[in-house]
């Protein structure tokens, strides 16, 4: 097995890097720029039962070292994704992770059941942390019991491993992580965006039509590292780490903190070739630091060493 390969439930990755959900649509745009097979995996945009039109614009605003977004889970809906988006990805042999969202438990369950049956889908990412929709999304992610209940329901219908994507906008993320592990989650995805706002000095009003948005980018990296470090000490399921990854050292920092793989979001907007470029820099940097294999640096509790 190669030095930079990592193995997680449902995901045999040739390298630890996947694009973060919502920053890569369903792959077609970046597929024009480079061969998506270079990616360790592909994580696509959130899918809901019905088509979602999303929020009004402006949907993004810049912040120091980061950005706010309030897309509002816009997506073409389950049917369209099944018929058009996922089939297009069949030409690639890299693992596919589908991010699913909903406005009720039933929504999530329906999307999970149908998406998890698709041949080229290797795992689900259960999005209980979208800060940009009133119902659903984050409300499922801020209460341990609710999150656990949803995880259990989704697990019961899913044919593939389920990664629960946690919200950082909570007092005690470890409590929620333990609850979803208890409920059967195969892995965790963290972190989603921090709630934030920018105000337009000319109007005195929030820049985003949605008022608040999700903060992403380098600015949130230390928050992600801390949460992954704390959670990885307390759970034995693997973590897909994300939140501000921008340079190759960040990937190593996330893995040392406890992530078994990583996702890159905002950095794709800074440089559309960010994912392949970071992957290409990995081995040289590992040599400089005297790191033999990536999986060996994952700073996780002995319990889950096995799955790595």
């Amino acid at each position: 097995m190669s030095r930079i390969a990592v193995s997680l439930p449902g995901l045999e990755m040739k390298n630890p890097v996947m694009p973060a959900s919502g920053c890569f649509a369903f792959g077609q745009e970046y597929g024009k720029l480079y061969d998506l097979n270079r990616l360790g995996a592909i994580c696509v945009k959130a899918v809901t039962v019905e088509e979602r039109r999303g929020n009004a614009t402006p949907r993004v605003a810049e912040t120091p070292g980061g950005m706010l977004n309030a897309i509002g889970l816009q997506n073409p809906g389950l049917e369209h994704v099944l018929q058009h988006e996922l089939p297009w990805l069949e030409k690639y042999d890299t693992p596919i992770v589908v991010n699913i969202a909903g406005y009720s438990v039933e929504d999530y369950v329906q999307v999970a059941r149908e998406i998890s049956k698709v041949r080229n889908v290797n795992a689900l990412e259960l999005n209980i942390s979208c800060p940009n929709v009133k119902e659903g999304g984050i409300t499922f992610g801020t209460d341990a019991a609710t999150a656990a209940h949803l995880t259990e329901k989704v697990k019961s219908v899913s044919d593939v491993p389920v990664y629960v994507k946690l919200s950082p906008n909570v007092t005690d993320i470890v409590e929620i992580a333990k609850a979803v592990e208890e409920a059967g989650a195969d892995g965790l995805s963290m972190i989603n965006t921090l709630l934030g706002m920018r105000i337009d000095l000319k109007t005195g009003l929030p820049i985003l039509a949605n008022r608040t948005g999700g903060l992403s980018g380098a600015a949130i990296k230390p928050v992600a590292i801390r949460m992954i470090y704390d959670v990885s000490q307390q759970v034995s399921i693997p973590i897909i780490g994300m939140g501000g990854i921008y340079e190759v050292d960040d990937i190593l920092e996330f893995m040392m903190a406890g992530a078994s793989a990583v996702a890159v979001g905002t950095a794709n907007f800074i440089d559309p070739f960010a994912c392949p470029n970071l992957i290409d820099q990995l081995e040289e940097r590992m040599d400089e630091l005297g790191i033999e294999t990536l999986s060996s640096i994952v700073g996780r509790s002995s319990l889950c060493k096995s799955i790595r």
Partner: protein, 258 residues
């Protein structure tokens, strides 16, 4: 679309806070049509984080040069205006669908209607139209005489009508006040602030094309930051919206909700 570290060959302030910048590099050869834009990375680091979309104002294929004109609005354009000749700027582009010149035919009369920093992309368009044997009339709107730029350049392409809100030059009022007075034109192309686009769409007596602006994330169609609603669902894709960065920034007047 490619990414290219282009070298700044010229940068001048042509009106208060309005800068003309020229950059050289192979990317310029990728230009498909006027109205396309590029996404500029302002600094090497993460501050600022997002790229800045700027329209192509002119292209010099032989010398591999692109000309852009931008207004210093905030942090990014301020930093851009401080860059000096010889410095490199990372450019992603050309992006989006520009103005369809082929929509006009030899002998037609086309009206170009531009407001503020919506004016630049119309220049490269006008040059191509004139080359096709199209008669071009240009209406340029500004706040005041002091802000006027590109007047001579457009004059070299045909009649130019200037409007200023304070009447300090040309017609007092808005571009639509000038457009109302024209008729018998076959097609119009317009770019500027949304309120202006709405007004132009209403006043115009011919079909036309409008260029939109929106805050962007990726610039390549992947993040859905820049969508606008379509008046009707797209027949083939079934989509009810369009992405300004890839489906636009130019749309057929009436196609999208302004």
């Amino acid at each position: 679309m490619i990414m290219d570290n282009m070298t700044i060959t010229k940068q001048t302030e042509i009106a208060p806070k309005i800068f003309r910048i020229e950059v050289r590099g192979p990317l310029s050869k990728e230009m498909k049509n006027p109205g396309q834009f590029v996404n500029l990375r302002i600094s090497k680091g993460i501050d600022p984080t997002l790229r800045r979309p700027i329209s192509i104002c002119d292209v010099d294929l032989e010398n591999e040069m692109l000309t852009m004109i931008y207004r210093v609005e905030g942090k990014g354009t301020k930093l851009l205006s401080e860059k000096i000749v010889g410095e490199e700027v990372n450019v992603l582009g050309p992006l989006g669908q520009g103005f369809p010149v082929e929509a006009a035919n030899q002998g037609n009369t086309c009206v170009l209607v531009g407001g503020g920093v919506g004016i630049p992309p119309l220049y490269y368009l006008g040059k191509q139209l004139v080359a096709m044997g199209v008669r071009v009339i240009t209406i340029l709107g500004f706040r005041t005489a002091n802000d006027v730029f590109l007047e001579e350049e457009f004059a070299s392409l045909g009649e130019v009508i200037i409007t200023t809100e304070d009447g300090s030059q040309g017609i007092k009022g808005f571009v639509t006040d000038a457009l109302k007075k024209l008729d018998g034109y076959d097609l119009y192309y317009t770019c500027g602030p949304k309120p202006m686009l709405r007004a132009v769409e209403q006043v115009a007596t011919s079909p036309g094309y409008i260029s939109l602006e929106e805050r962007m994330g990726c610039g390549v169609g992947a993040c859905l930051a820049c969508v606008c609603d379509l008046k009707e669902r797209d027949a083939e894709t079934g989509k009810a919206y369009a992405k300004i960065c890839t489906d636009g920034p130019v749309f057929l007047a009436g196609e999208v909700v302004l």
